[in-house]
Symmetry: D2
Subunit: 332 residues, 4 copies
């Protein structure tokens, strides 16, 4: 069964409780560009994004992720997606073009990991903003980079995404357990990554910025606004991916990462980099301890009907129990 | 005769032809903070400046510099200034407190070089903006750093400022001629510098930014706005001062420099760094040629009565005739 | 006729006159990593490169480019290359594995534009250096990014590379003429670009660095060493590609670019950005004039027998005749 | 009684247990320049330092700080120092010129806080390295910025340094207690700062770097070398001073800070910035918790005879008991 030909992670829909508050955080502070808006929704993108949006913020009864969306190569991949998930007995729905502004016909599925995933091929191209330096604010985000999802069984998640044609760039592991994995379709370290834990939940959305001073700048701005509690972890250098990062929490607690650096993974024999779970540099190359909430808190997933997905407990040893950092206490 | 005890270069008044257009350039694009405004004037400062302003933009019949102002240690230094200039037969005027918003009583003089110079001791301290990263825009200017003035005789200018107690940090010279000199009161490379040419004219105002990416950013913003003609020279690394710079021209042609890096000069035996006029790195450490207009164009100076100062011709060999860069053609 | 499935620009061989002098420039100053060396050759790479090399420096009777090399997906693409070029009556040679250290079996051809081009699928993976920050020096180059070649007919070059499956990202043009074009296989702005002029010649090799301060740093280092004549143009922001750049000349006059920023081009409907030749921002987003030598000087190409290729005159209007910058004088 | 006219913090002598190991850390990794060396000592400086050294590393029986040294304006200030401390009944010793390489005649005292402090006026000026970018490595340190010392009574320390003519730039306080204070002679935020705790001990030496990417770079290098345990706290933005920082521990546990940004404090009416001890941004503007060891560990002080000073217990409420961060647990 041929999977849909996925190009890249494209956008996510987050359910938020107060759109004005979310607009303040994502638009005024972080500096995302608004492509369009509706009374109950904002469509946002980074300055390098050439399609309609990287993020939909939609009001709803409780914070959640409505869906994550991958762009596929062609319309034929929508039927491929229906067949691929149908053969596995999973629910799928065809979504007419125009249901989502800027997005053509789509297929939404409930995937084997419990996430609602959309596939679409056609996208609108609004005004190019790449060189509108005059409009850049805040973190000067360029584009969506990846989805990081919480799954009870990382090895199963890896196998499922491998069946979708994703390559593996890096792992955290020991002889018994695959604690985390990073997988890609586009030629970067990842489009999707897995964090072990009770799932399905969305761990974070990763957004790319071009230089490290942009990561520092958004922290400085949050400090100015007495919004330092929005900074959860970092800034720091990841061991995995070698990227410079900071993790923020939005007003509903949704986690995002501002992420810079990364590397090219497009060669067909791209070698996997495997990190020992005992290497204190795997999560932070400088050995700074991970903040406990980073391991434990995450965003509820909605099913195709918009109802919260029940959580399945983590099936494997928790990384924080065996790793060199994290709770109960920092390693240093 | 004891000179006034000068603390530092403090502010300049530029005469502009269209305050809206100047506001666009200095406030909206460059990102200066507005401390206060009047129908015909704007009072601007950088984010680290703790006194009222670094720059007054005032409308007038033709572009000019009204005055450059130094802060002095105490009120007694105003009388010292009157005596110092009076003994040289130069005009001086006592300006009552409040004549300039945020500035106490002042003395204005016509100095031996033909510039209108103000001395003041008392200054208002408006809201501290240093950590208002949320308000920073454009070049994120921190403070005024220096005045660069065009004088027909650089050696005479050096001797005059030496008599005011300024230290010498760097020069451009050969056996016959002092082509340029950098002098300081505060513990940086300069508060004032001299460029040889027909004078008196103001060559540029130098403003300090904290990091080089802020210099690059203002260039990117100007490109976005199709305002690339406001970029006259650079960015580049100065040989003299070791600072990273860009020179811009405002809508009236006034030149400013965004300047970062610099070094400490506070030791009493601070050694002078003397550059040969034949070293192609003196003006740009990377050997990039100076743009001809940078040597030839500058801002008219007003006298105490607000009338343009006539120009005296350059008394010395022009740097561009002997130097390794500049017109008629680049050195490479 | 199916072309070989090209993955990316991989490496170039430059013929140099003095290997010690070249080692000083490329290794000691620029900071390239040496994977291996022979009495007459050095094999160099950037810190993110996971295969054997991005650059071979080999001694020879006169400065030239021996070949540019693209990595292809699989061994079968070598036969595809032989067939593709054979059908066009062009010379091709099969090169046994091991002829070039770290590179498997290859096919070399004389392409329709007059360049010697190598295709290879298999590559050795030496020690991963991505996180060896302790070894980084100079420009901290990450990897090869692109080849820029001088061709007499840019439209013909575009059509040829289109037939090889390259996508088009940006152009410089007017109604009559295609002055320059940027084309890609990997998901960046380009693997190859065309500059109009007498050809075939190699205009430059483009190397990627992660941040702009690394571009500034190599200029500062060259200034320190009185090697400022190695800096030909820049640093600056490109209009085309939006990258921050500097062009350097090595001791033999070979041109290289240190290039940072870039953007993702992997979507199947990636839109072309077309720049008017009259936009002064196309070559430098800040409007700085291009240095004349940048348009006129380039590296001789060797044929399959190692003999210099004769030059064919430019078949189209020169960009500098119609563009807003360049000689005879800067545009400002 | 007139105090000596102190210009600035100049250098410190650290006693280390293994000079080779210290050379690896300070010279090979951090990149300090070596001005001169002896079998048992290294004399190091940053690239902007124009005098002989900012740091002496000397082997000795146990890790300690031998002295901290201030440069004074003139030779007459040595006698002023003898008189100033003699009048307080404190020990002072005249040290002949040449006893310390590159330093003229000096006076060493045991100050009221229990520190051994040296005053000197004359200093040798070795080769200027400011623009030797080719020699820069590691953190590319520019110069010493400040001493941070641990004292049992911060208010008493403040009063003593006030009597020495130091200005006050910032504090951490509440209605009852002065928890920390920053004081300056040169025109930066500080030459000396006080941390409450058992004392006398040296909390850290602060070294200035020009840009934030240099702070990130030294962390990356330490990660590469598996030396991440040398990174104690940060990187982060200070609330106090607004500087970007990282705290490192050398092989003997001596703490140093790489510090960038800072601001001008040279105006005679420079306003004090007072931080509430309850503001979670005072120690880290992004609200990141202080690492406990940062509050508790510090370097032993030697007296004039080279014997360790006994510790006096902290006389005031500990900042970590009332502040919003620190142990027993992070504030978030």
């Amino acid at each position: 069964m041929t999977p849909p030909d996925i190009i890249r992670s494209a956008y996510a829909e987050l359910i938020v409780s107060d759109l004005d508050r979310s607009r303040w955080f994502w638009v005024e502070v972080l500096g995302f560009a608004v492509t369009s808006e509706q009374p109950d929704a904002l469509y946002l993108r980074g300055f390098d994004e050439l399609t309609h949006h990287n993020l939909i913020l939609r009001t709803g009864p409780q914070p959640a992720v409505g869906r994550i969306a991958f762009r596929v190569r062609a319309s034929a991949d929508l039927a491929a997606a229906e067949a691929f998930y149908g053969a596995r007995g999973l629910r799928a729905a065809r979504i007419p073009a125009g249901s989502t502004p800027g997005v053509g016909e789509a297929v939404r599925v409930e995937d084997p990991l419990g996430f609602t995933v959309e596939f679409f091929a056609d996208a609108a191209h609004p005004e190019r903003l790449q060189q509108r330096y005059d409009l850049r604010r805040g973190a000067e985000v360029a584009r969506l980079d990846h989805f990081n999802i919480v799954v009870p069984d990382v090895r199963a998640a890896h196998e499922y995404y491998q069946s979708l044609g994703f390559g593996l760039s890096e792992t955290i592991e020991d002889d018994q357990t695959l604690y985390a994995a990073w997988m890609y379709r586009k030629q970067t370290v990842h489009d999707v990554a897995f964090t072990g834990g009770d799932g399905p939940r969305l761990h974070h959305l990763g957004f790319f910025a071009h230089e490290s001073h942009q990561v520092l700048r958004i922290c400085d701005i949050l400090g100015s606004l007495r919004g330092e509690h929005h900074i959860e972890r970092g800034p720091g250098r990841h061991g995995v991916s070698n990227a410079f990062y900071v993790y923020l929490r939005d007003p509903d607690g949704h986690r995002l990462e501002i992420y810079t650096s990364d590397y090219y993974t497009g060669d067909p024999d791209h070698p996997v980099l495997r990190w020992s779970v005992h290497d204190p540099r795997r999560r932070d190359f400088w050995g700074n301890a991970v903040i406990p909430s980073w391991y434990t808190e995450a965003t509820t997933v909605l099913d195709l009907d918009g109802k919260p997905r029940p959580l399945l407990p983590e099936k494997q040893t928790a990384e924080v129990r065996v790793g060199a950092d994290g709770f109960p206490g920092p390693a240093r």
